[in-house]
């Protein structure tokens, strides 16, 4: 039996990804044993982040400023917009540093299963952005899934009137991948997307 405050802490921690009730108890105990070094700073950081964070009204990214740092950065290439499904995908691309343009976060994919329709996604704003004169290319970086590619095809249709170049990420053999271990689908996509050397 523990105090209701501790039970509440464990209950909330158990809702975090990767944590179940048992590991939540371990985390809670770890925090309780280090109140000054961990618990209070963590609580302060959570409260400060919750207070400051907001979605960017331009691209849908989450940041402590609106517009977000990427949209507000004049050094970013305004001519290329990379469209991603989720903020996690934006972070993944930012880690690589390969895309120096701007982003647009859709907030999901079209899904018959979950009843997600075009109006539920951040597509209207993307079309408006693509019509700006500075934008020359829209890169569709949706996942290589049925839902991701269906969404990409839908966006291509919607962007037809914007007069911008639309491209998508390549599908195929990953770096370090051995053909023998690749699934048939990836191999098929790789063979279809082959290019001359």
């Amino acid at each position: 039996m523990s105090a209701p405050e501790i039970d509440r802490l464990i209950e909330l921690l158990a809702k975090l990804p990767g944590l179940g009730p048992r590991s939540a108890r371990r985390v809670a105990l770890h925090l309780i044993k280090r109140p000054a070094q961990l618990m209070t700073p963590l609580a302060d950081a959570l409260a400060a982040t919750a207070e400051a964070i907001s979605p960017c009204q331009i691209c849908g990214n989450v940041d402590t400023s609106d517009p977000c740092r990427i949209c507000a950065n004049p050094e970013r290439d305004a001519s290329a917009i990379c469209v991603v499904e989720d903020v996690a995908d934006l972070w993944a691309l930012e880690r690589t540093g390969v895309h120096r343009g701007r982003y647009h976060v859709l907030g999901g994919t079209l899904s018959a299963l979950d009843g997600v329709n075009p109006e539920d996604l951040n597509i209207g704003k993307l079309v408006d952005r693509a019509k700006e004169t500075a934008v020359l290319e829209v890169i569709l970086a949706t996942n290589a899934t049925v839902a991701g590619q269906t969404t990409a095809h839908y966006i291509v249709e919607r962007l037809a009137s914007a007069g911008v170049k639309v491209s998508r990420l390549a599908h195929g053999v990953p770096v370090g991948g051995e053909l023998n271990y690749l699934d048939d689908g990836t191999l098929t996509a790789a063979m279809k997307s082959r290019r001359p050397l």
């Binding site: 018959a112 269906t150 095809h153 291509v156 048939d184 098929t188």
Partner: protein, 249 residues
Amino acid sequence: MEWTDEAFVLAARRHGEGAAVVQLLTREHGRHAGLVHGGGSSSKRAIVEPGNRVQSNWRGRLPEHLGSVTLEVERSYAASLMDDPKRLSALAAACAVAEVALPEREPHPAMFHATQALLDSLADTDDDVWPAVYIRWELGLLGELGFGLDLSTCAATGQSDDLIFVSPRTGRAVSREAGMLYQDKLLVLPGFLAPSEGTEISATADDIRDGVTLTRYFLARHVFDPLNKPLPGARDRLTDLLKDPPKSP
């Protein structure tokens, strides 16, 4: 309880952090759900993509349990359709419609074979025959569910030639002679669905548009309206895409 069966993945919903509840169209066990351990993880997510043909092994303590299922991919149809919006949309529409329309755990081997034919047509043929195959697949689905259309003879005159309409009330064909007065109330019967004497009639763009309108009407009336559900968005998107003549990739 345990069984092994060939199946197509119709849909998968994440369950908890790493698992997924998958809906399968199996050859012998009909539409059947099961829990795929790790099906929501990045390493196994590709296995539960809609349209995958898989070898499934279901285990449960009691037959009525959800049970767990292990899948081995035999062919990933979606991978070869990713670049073609219309074919990909047809795959998504077929999976979404079957997932709602087919009753769970009721064997429909004919639908399994029809789905196999549809996916083969989508993935392996370069010509424009697949929209007609899709429409026949939906007609087959209606038939399997007990709402098959009778397109062999005219409901009014009994004649078997010059059939160009379908009655929205009875689902029976109507001849030009009997239907012209009521044409604004009748559905159009595409030429390739009308009975022909051994000759294969190819489907035109208008036929395809009339065909998807015809099957959409009866699917909504007999299957989706009684369930108080709209037709899946993927099905409506396919209708929109097929307004234009189909093109080969």
